[in-house]
Symmetry: C2
Subunit: 139 residues, 2 copies
DNA sequence: GAACACCCTGTAGCGGCTACAGGGTCAAGG
DNA sequence: CCTTGACCCTGTAGCCGCTACAGGGTGTTC
């Protein structure tokens, strides 16, 4: 199948597919006589796998590591475990900082009353005032 | 004060300070005879404000808009309100997708038992299997 | 006069795409 | 036969928000 069909089949932009090939994440497919890329079922499989991992917000470098495991199934599984664990750690860290962020934004929003000018805006005052304190009371 | 002192005072890397100047976020300071940047109190104020907004994960483009409000306090505050609202919307969207992500990763981790090879690893099997289904059951 | 801390400009890199520019290929329709 | 259109190719540059050099200049101290 050609690149357009592969994109159709997996819901991936063809520019992205070429990008994955360029960075060595998706193996170069065969070429037709006219130079067009010609993908097979394994490519569909692989690309779907990549996208699934990306949907789990894994960096491409980690996806690459996982693909290596798929290619060499005799390897020990401990590393896979660790990879997921690391990923989970990062996600949780990000999650908690985003929760703190949401709280701050909600508080900020509450500072703004009815129509007035920027000079009298509680949001702006709060932002200016807050930037006078050392960052990170919440730590 | 020189750039190093400003960095000290605000906890911002001097490369970052020069970067902010280059992209027009921080106004160019005066220069000493030898060409060294010479900042004043207003710059400290402004830089602290920028960093505080960044800590709230605002894109620099929005920080710029806020700085415009600070500079023109006669403007209507409605836009400030909207800006914070948009920011909150983005944060919440990201937050809920990260929560879903965390769940998936926890489920994934549970699939891996004791020591075994990648071939028998439940995580890998799950990832491969999941990539066969159309993405986004959760939507 | 040499070591050191500081400063300057400019360029290139990161990740993960996205968007061109400037071409080639091939089937259907006027 | 020729044009239109859909598809494909390569290569380069841009996005964000930094970060890291390379290759220099300045100014104080021993
Ligand atoms: Zn207001
Ligand atoms: Zn102030
Ligand atoms: Zn396992
Ligand atoms: Zn399969």
């Amino acid at each position: 199948m050609r690149i357009g069909e592969l994109g159709q089949a997996t819901g991936v932009d063809i520019e992205t597919i070429r990008h994955y090939e360029k960075i060595g994440l998706l193996s170069p497919p065969a070429r037709e006589a006219n130079g067009y890329r010609n993908y097979d079922a394994a490519h569909v499989e692989r690309l779907a796998f990549i996208r699934h991992c990306r949907a789990l917000d894994m960096p491409l470098a980690e996806v690459k590591r996982l693909l290596d495991f798929v290619a060499h199934p005799e390897a020990d599984c401990g590393d896979i475990n660790r990879l997921i664990e690391e990923q989970l750690g990062r996600v949780r860290e990000r999650l908690s900082s985003m929760q703190a962020l949401e709280k701050q934004l909600v508080a900020l929003r509450a500072r703004c009353g009815e129509n007035h000018t920027a000079r009298e805006c509680g949001i702006l005052h709060e932002l200016v005032a807050a930037s006078h304190e050392p960052e990170g009371r919440q730590r």
